[in-house]
């Protein structure tokens, strides 16, 4: 690795100040599972590395009216968190797929989102759960819906002096407190290998049902465009309707419209479109089954 200096802030304020001082020459490190390989092969050459590991405010998962996931919560924490597994299942699914256990114990949700790979496995679940990004900067805090967070391959709305602090999302309704509303979610990706592989396509679905009709559907896709995207036409086609197999199949077809895939060594654009249809059907079916369970 090229030489760099390290700064070890213990608060968000200190961190923002360090970033403002060092500008584009500085890089934050959380788990390092994206950054270290990039630094080792010379893709990224920061003069200063700012460690987020000493900032307590970035850690942990808090469950209240909704869920607050600290930017430095690890994939492993999310995979094992009882409330995430119960209520935010798509996120537990996505977190469990990241790398190996040795990677998941380091990999943070903030790193996954800020690295902004089109294939990031925690992005579609959080978009389907309507998460908002809490961002800190020199001017204070701002919130951005995750669906507006990504601006391109490896690009986000974050300024060089800004920091992702947490993700917050509303609780998907579950009985008995929500009466007749039930909600369920699922994330599935296609990879040739079961472990340690990158999504050829990933799909997250979250559906909320009342009296047999879908009142809300959120579907987000990975690895089919420069950023993770919502399948808006498919979402609209489901809302207000009973989730019959025919409806789900129709939505799966519409989801393909949101995909603008490229052909690369992992799969052709045609294959990716096919996968969007198949995985949308499978995740909607799984989400519905979980809502009813």
């Amino acid at each position: 690795m090229r030489r760099f200096e390290m700064i070890l802030p213990s608060s968000v304020d200190e961190c923002v100040k360090a970033l403002a001082t060092h500008g584009a020459g500085a890089k934050t490190v959380a788990g390092g599972t994206d950054l270290l390989p990039q630094m080792k092969n010379g893709l990224v050459k920061p003069a200063v590395v700012v460690d987020l590991g000493g900032i307590a405010a970035l850690k942990g998962v808090t469950n209240g009216a909704g869920l607050r996931v600290g930017a430095c919560a690890t994939a492993r924490e999310l995979e094992l968190h009882p409330e995430v597994r119960k209520r935010y299942t798509a996120l537990a699914d996505g977190a469990a797929l990241v790398g190996s256990v040795q990677v998941r114990n380091l990999a943070t949700v903030g790193g996954n989102l800020c690295n902004a790979a089109p294939s990031a496995d925690m992005a579609p679940p959080l978009m389907a759960l309507e998460a908002e990004a809490v961002i800190a900067g020199p001017k204070g805090e701002r919130r951005v819906p995750l669906s507006a967070f990504f601006t391109g391959v490896r690009q986000t709305v974050l300024g060089a002096d800004e920091l992702l602090v947490a993700l917050v999302m509303p609780a998907p309704p579950v009985p008995p407190e929500a009466g007749l509303y039930v909600s369920g979610g699922s994330y599935i990706r296609h990879t040739p290998r079961r472990e340690l592989d990158i999504a050829v396509v990933g799909v997250a679905s979250q559906v909320t049902v009342q009296n047999g009709r879908c009142v809300k559907a959120r579907i987000a896709l990975a690895s089919v465009a420069p950023t993770p995207v919502h399948a808006t036409a498919a979402e609209r086609a489901l809302e207000g309707q009973p989730l019959t197999p025919e409806r789900i199949e129709q939505a799966a077809g519409l989801a393909v419209e949101a995909a603008k895939p490229i052909s690369d060594q992992r799969g052709s654009a045609d294959f990716r479109r096919h996968l969007v249809r198949v995985l949308t059907r499978r995740t909607l079916t799984a989400a519905l089954a979980r809502a009813r369970a």
Partner: protein, 161 residues
């Protein structure tokens, strides 16, 4: 770049090392602490040969910057058992003849040790998932799974005694 002091716990002992900020935990352990059990297979998180426990959890030490371990507790293969009192996993690996070249074994053992701390009696599926981040280019994984299953049984019996 001035070196900085890294104070942390390694295999139960408080240790201070003088390290440059741009080295990994793996390099600090091998080059500064003299613990050459953890190996560098890939340096990119793919092979698991560098697996150590950080605050009790298995991690790829090739992806951790040394200073990120400040104030924390690290356990390497050197802290698992001793030459005269092998850990049940090490004992089972020897009896099953698991190691061939041996390069991957410290990492596999640390991954397996973490697995057994979480699941006292893991299923084959859980074992395979637990060591999915460890590549072995010599052997198959069949003997590893058998040895880990047996070690889990030995630990359980030992605890019952």
């Amino acid at each position: 770049m001035p070196k900085q002091i890294l104070s942390f716990t390694v295999n139960g002992d408080k240790v201070d090392l003088l390290v440059p900020p741009y080295v990994t935990l793996l390099d600090a352990l091998r080059d500064e602490a003299g613990l050459t059990g953890p190996k560098e297979g890939c340096g990119t998180g793919d092979c698991g040969a560098c697996t150590v426990h950080l605050d009790g959890k298995p991690v790829a030490s090739c992806l951790v910057l040394a200073l990120q371990a400040r104030g924390r507790s690290v356990r390497t293969i050197e802290g698992l058992g001793t030459a005269t009192a092998l850990h049940p996993l090490q004992d089972a690996f020897v009896r099953h003849g698991v190691p061939q070249c041996g390069f991957c074994i410290p990492g596999v053992l640390m991954a397996a040790a973490a697995l057994l701390e979480e699941h006292a009696a893991p299923t084959e599926e859980q074992i395979r998932y637990g060591i999915a981040g460890n590549l072995c280019r010599c052997t198959g994984y069949t003997k590893m799974v058998a040895a880990i299953t047996e070690a889990a049984g030995m630990i359980k019996k030992g605890a019952a005694r």
